[in-house]
């Protein structure tokens, strides 16, 4: 028999063990919202009652942790996150497998994410460094603590927003709602939690790391696409605009001979396709990193 809300949540977490951490976080949030609401109402109705008196009835109506865990698993199996529409399954020709990447929304979305990552990287980094130095600098004064708390809360906010972006563009399941603390947790405990939970610090590290990654992703993909587009457009630039086909490697300039131009066009197409594959692959990698650093593992 379940006697407290926390006990129910613990059992539900146990039942969901092995599911996606983000699903667990959502299921626990739903259950906690429901139980706290029902509990507050039940206690209002009968002032003398304690939590242990009313929780069993609430849990009975809500459904056993087993049932509820099964319902979430079922829902998750039906929904794929973000741009989850996978292109056709089944055996395909090698040609399709290579060039089919252009029909895969996920590759385009990942590309968009990497181009955007320069902007988000700069924004997160600026915010993180400003907030960090402001908090640390003011920590000698008494105002330092509230500033630090507000700053760390904002970092958790950024983690949530970045999570939404990662899910939409990289298709990695992330929490769909912000985390909240237990109602019974006191004000000071919440602040202590903010400082002691792993996710606060990994999210902060992510904000700082994202600048470097953003610069890398942005230059890599704009560079590769620029080069591919240049190769593909060579016939136009050479024959229509009469511009020589230069490639500079180190100190040496190479000029492509006319007969090489068709080959360079083909090379450009291959390069563009390979870039799309790379974007899709790296999208998965970055998604995994984001999940590691931005999702609370307490939900596991």
């Amino acid at each position: 028999m379940v006697r407290t809300v926390d006990e129910y949540l613990r059992l539900l977490r146990q039942e969901l063990d092995g599911s996606d951490p983000a699903v667990i976080q959502d299921a626990l949030a739903d259950a906690e919202e429901h139980f706290r609401g029902a509990l507050a109402q039940a206690l209002n109705g009968s002032p003398g009652a304690s939590e242990a008196d009313v929780v069993p009835a609430i849990a009975e109506k809500y459904g056993s942790p087993q049932e509820i865990a099964a319902a979430y698993r079922q829902m998750e199996a039906r929904l794929s996150p973000g741009l989850g529409r996978r292109t056709h399954a089944g055996p395909r020709s090698v040609f399709y497998r290579f060039f089919g990447v252009f029909a895969d929304l996920r590759a385009w979305a990942a590309l968009l994410y990497f181009v955007l990552s320069l902007a988000t990287g700069i924004a997160y980094f600026t915010w993180a460094v400003t907030g960090l130095s402001l908090s640390l600098g003011l920590l000698v004064l008494i105002v330092g603590l509230p500033v630090a708390v507000l700053f760390l809360l904002s970092v958790r906010g950024i983690a949530f927003i970045e999570g939404r972006l990662v899910e939409a563009l990289l298709g990695v399941r992330m929490p769909r709602r912000p985390r909240f603390s237990n109602e019974k947790t006191g004000f000071w405990q919440r602040i202590r939690d903010l400082f002691t939970q792993r996710i606060t610090w990994t999210a902060l590290a992510y904000c700082i790391l994202q600048l470097g990654l953003g610069i890398f992703y942005f230059s890599l993909f704009t560079g590769l696409i620029g080069m591919a587009v240049y190769f593909i457009a060579l016939p136009i630039t050479v024959f229509a605009f009469d511009m020589p086909a230069y490639i500079v490697i180190g100190d040496t300039e190479y000029q492509a001979v006319t007969w090489a131009i068709p080959f360079l066009v083909v090379l450009g197409v291959l390069l563009l396709t390979a870039t799309m594959h790379l974007a899709r692959l790296m999208g998965r990698g970055h998604g995994a990193l984001a999940k590691l650093m931005l999702v609370n593992d307490k939900a596991r």
Binding site: D26, A27, A29, D30, A31, E32, E33, H34, R36, G37, A38, A40, K61, Y62, G63, E67, I68, A71, Y72, Q74, M75, R78, L79, R176, R177, P178, F180, E183
Partner: protein
């Protein structure tokens, strides 16, 4: 006579399975129509109470099973939601029906009426006669 407990258990579990299948099919329709009637966004517990108030006997649908359905309706664009802080604990997620949800509700209602009429007709045995 159902002398043995085992038989009783089997009947009970078959009943439960049948009920679960019936209910899971209409849960989305029920939620959509409650939110379609609502004038203001509602949160999960509020919706659960509305359902509770209308079920005459023991509620057939576990309240906790509503939330994943709400979520899946939201991700198909039939509902939209926002989170608001509450005085009594964790923030609440308020759901509201979308325009797509309204048109879907109309279609599903029509489908439900059709199915109900069909099932009623079959069970009353109308049309079973040899020559109509």
């Amino acid at each position: 006579m159902w002398g043995k407990n085992k038989d009783l258990d089997q009947i009970e579990s078959a009943d439960r399975k049948f009920q679960k299948e019936l209910v899971s099919g209409v849960a989305a329709l029920v939620l959509l129509s409650i939110l379609g009637e609502a004038t203001e966004p509602m949160y999960g517990y509020q919706i659960a109470k509305v359902i509770d108030g209308q079920a005459e006997e023991a509620p057939v649908l576990k309240q906790g099973a509503l939330y994943p359905v709400l979520r899946s309706l939201e991700s198909s664009g039939l509902l939209e939601s926002h989170v608001e802080p509450s005085v009594s604990g964790p923030p609440r997620r308020y759901y509201r029906i979308t325009e797509a949800g309204q048109t879907t509700l109309a279609r599903w209602t029509a489908m439900w009426d059709q199915l109900r009429t069909f099932v009623d007709t079959v069970m009353k045995g109308e049309g079973h006669g040899q020559d109509g």
